[in-house]
Symmetry: C2
Subunit: 532 residues, 2 copies
């Protein structure tokens, strides 16, 4: 479309906007400069222009929006709640796409206390689900993300984001997607495609080929409904904190983690954060020291600890909890310099138990009660602070990092859950970040048995001239270095869709054909994971 | 193709066979009557004619076979080890397809002791994987199926069959499929599509849309390689047996099961079998009583027990095992009439502990040591006996049910893991089976948290005139009755591909288009789950 002259393009958009207004009403079609600027802004530099924001309220309106886009040959890019922070926020991958904001589609469609399921639209937030369960006095909880209370679970799952606590691999614990294809057709995944199927919200595979996987990290359809699986509140909840003080201990720690995941002692999302990351999430930037904060400066402030780990164990009986403590002590004791397991038995107070180390060593982990809340599915804004770490004057509520000119870029290499790989990846990435003049804010999330999700965070101030370019160069260098070592990213920002290595087979071609089949004009989210 | 006159068809096949012979050699192309009869026989009546059996030895030969089929407009139907017993064995869904037997593709391609993965071709058997691990003195084990030691893990996973013990939902614990599309192109799923990806065998999703789901229960490609995840041998293995003596107790038992799965006390495949099924798998048919065996006759022989359950708990520490016993006693004690937990700590002898009931009540479960072997990944032929239950003169090795004229038909409705549903499904199905003059051989397999795989087995003697028709009528009536109640099957036999309810959306149409895209002539397994 770039080759069309601009007046033709403008006419197309004008005609399409007219029709969208008829479909959605004036309120459903936003094109004033402030709105456009809102969706054109990310937490890093972007150039994409967005001609219009559409706000459909239901599936039929989504279909109508797509039909009109198709008629006029213009593209749309869906966004649920716009919290894709560090990956591009609401900004489309390509220039000149309208943004289809699904925030008005915020109904909770179905809920079962017995079967522990909830079916929601993409505009529903984590906070909304939490409130819904609280109001009903439900004995169930929904695991949150490390992001915002106002993030969308549907979007989180479709980006293969992780959940805190159980069902950390969120994607694996969803089913029954309702999807509008770009050509307006509708599919339901699994058993949900059959009327009256009693297992529509209970089973991922269905019968015959399974389509769920096609709609995660893709542009093959707009998911307008999805079922999430919930967990009963446990009899005993245990928050496990551990620490190593020597960088050489990362490798054996990761090998120990793999063993604990294989055997099933650990089954909940496990985070392991380095000293920079732990420090940045607890304290403001020490401006008196200048930027970047150097390792020797950091070490002068926090005398102990190189890696800080946090996980949870959910048990249905106190003796199971005791058994898990015994096993964790046996397996993690020799690998760590601090091991603390805090327990809460059904509504009782938290009892903190140090297995190894002293209580002063717990300080960098922050308040244990906050961890209990988070691990019980209570949404929190705490983690949003970290986006503002390099901003001297942070806004009051940490809610608008784009407008506040926070610089935030994630890089997400997928690394084998193996000590040698983790240590090497850490060294490679830390070296690149230091060379680019940023702090290495590094973490690992383990939510499956065989891989570690490496979470590399670049935080900077977009108001510092040149930092946008320098930060993105750093990010790109990280992805490139990881790629050549076989650590392919598990998630991409809008700026990186073209950075995957060339495949060794026909997958790209087949995906492109699937795309053309459901979207012959390429009107839905062009360039997003699947090229046109 | 049915509309072509038969001489044209014969010429096509003749020319194709000539080319296949050039490609595979004489030994790779079998068309003598005995071979054709072998692949035309199932454990129920079929009419499909198979003109030829092809035996490619590698991926290139698979591609060559497909190219030749495409050139001549004839169809091929893949079979790994041919143990699709009760679902059609090696017989194609449609008439006049060649059978592509993948048994020569039996290489173990890759293995990692550290990461607990094994990558195999479709001709590899469970026995072969077991022997491979034993030879290396591996500390890992591979969970078997309830089928034969000579079944194919790849085929089992692609049919979404279940595993015994951990990773019961086998499909969820595979990745890195290599797939030859009908048009000869090759795709690898997940990270395996990138050269040198260190997570190729470790992660299912990859980056971007995930394709694995497309190739299970489908005809969209031939899987020529797949990675399976293994488990370390546990410190403590516990075999849990339980029983209820009153049919009314099934519903609360199933609700209790759901709770134990939700909380994670149970995570291994759990089987619950009715009295008929338990009896038939332990004892020969009491011919002196005539057929069918009536419930009152059965009850006269086994005085106690209506449902017999078996599951396992794998622990890494003795205290964890103790905790699990405490919880199982608390949760299952009130719901059962017998509860026995036998434990084995690393290589030690089995210690049997009765929680509730007397040891005489354990008899119908058979030898507990056999259960330990099976749950440790040691393949067994034991379950194959049941196929011969209605045969007066069984062959020595129970290996050739088709040639021995065993009648075996499975029906597989998927039912919510909920007491009311399970009890109702059981009543409906038992009624239909009794009305058709067969024994209700019923079981449930639980390998996920929210669904129960209902395993309905019809066993008969194909040499009894009329039984083929009567058994299939019974099977069809079961599927129909379940369908109208929302219990859609999770797996289909070759005779039932057309029995799914009409979808409420465009899924069928989209699947058909995917099929045409990769298989424009419909040469691969026409009619199998996806219609052409």
């Amino acid at each position: 479309m770039a080759s069309l002259d601009s007046s033709t393009m403008e006419q197309r958009w004008a005609r399409a906007i007219e029709q969208w207004q008829r479909l959605l009403g004036e309120d459903g079609v936003l094109s004033e400069p402030s709105e456009r600027q809102r969706v054109e802004s990310a937490t890093f530099a972007t150039r994409q222009r967005v001609p219009v924001v559409l706000r459909p309220a239901n599936r039929a309106e989504v279909q109508g929006c797509l039909r009109i886009a198709s008629e006029h040959g213009v593209s749309l890019y869906p966004s649920s709640r716009g919290r894709n922070w560090g990956f591009g926020s609401r900004v489309p991958v390509e220039d000149l796409c309208g943004v289809l904001e699904l925030g008005l589609m915020n109904r909770i469609i179905d809920f079962s206390e017995d079967m522990a399921t909830i079916t929601v639209e993409p505009g529903v937030t984590f906070q909304q689900v939490f409130d819904f369960l609280e109001e009903r006095g439900s004995r169930l909880f929904f695991n949150v993300t490390g992001s915002s209370p106002w993030s969308s679970p549907v979007a989180n799952a479709l980006e293969r984001g992780d959940g805190v606590g159980p069902y950390g691999d969120r994607t694996a614990h969803t089913c029954g997607l309702e999807v509008v294809l770009p050509d307006g057709r509708v599919v339901h995944t699994g058993m949900a495609r059959f009327d009256g199927a009693s297992t529509a919200t209970l089973h991922r595979w269905g019968v015959g080929p399974s389509l769920d996987g096609l709609f995660a990290q893709s542009n093959l359809g707009i998911v307008t409904r999805m079922t999430f699986w919930l967990k009963p509140k446990p009899k005993v909840l245990q928050v496990v904190r551990f620490r190593v003080d020597d960088p050489e201990r990362l490798a054996p720690l990761m090998d120990g983690m793999r063993q604990l995941w294989f055997e099933g002692t650990l089954r909940s999302s496990t985070g392991i954060w380095n000293d920079f990351r732990a420090f940045s999430s607890r304290r403001g930037f020490p401006w008196e020291l200048g930027t970047p904060l150097r390792r020797d400066q950091l070490e002068a402030m926090i005398s102990e600890g190189v890696w800080f780990g946090l996980t949870t164990v959910y048990s249905a009986h106190e003796k199971q909890a005791e058994g898990n403590v015994a096993r964790l002590e046996e397996a993690l004791g020799p690998l760590t310099d601090l091991l603390a397991i805090a327990s809460r038995v059904e509504g009782d107070d938290v009892r903190d138990a140090l297995i190894k180390g002293t209580s002063s060593m717990l300080a960098p982990f922050g308040d244990v009660n906050a961890a209990f809340k988070l691990m019980s599915g209570i949404p929190s804004v705490a983690s949003q602070r970290s986006m503002y770490w390099r901003k001297r004057n942070a806004s009051a509520d940490f809610q608008t990092p784009e407008a506040d000119r926070c610089g935030v870029i994630w890089a997400c290499p997928l690394v084998p859950l193996h000590g040698r790989h983790a240590a090497e990846a850490n060294a490679v990435v830390e070296g690149i970040i230091l060379a680019h003049g940023f702090e290495p804010l590094l973490g690992w999330v383990i939510q499956q048995e065989r891989v570690a999700y490496f979470l590399v965070l670049i935080i900077y101030d977009r108001d510092v001239p040149g930092e946008d370019d320098r930060a993105m160069a750093c990010h790109d260098a990280i992805l490139e270095a990881c790629k050549t070592r076989g650590w392919i990213p598990w998630r991409l920002g809008i700026q990186s869709m073209q950075t995957l290595p060339a495949g060794r087979d026909d997958t790209d071609g087949v995906l492109r054909e699937f795309k053309r089949l459901v979207d012959p004009q390429g009107i839905l989210a062009p360039g997003r994971y699947v090229s046109g």
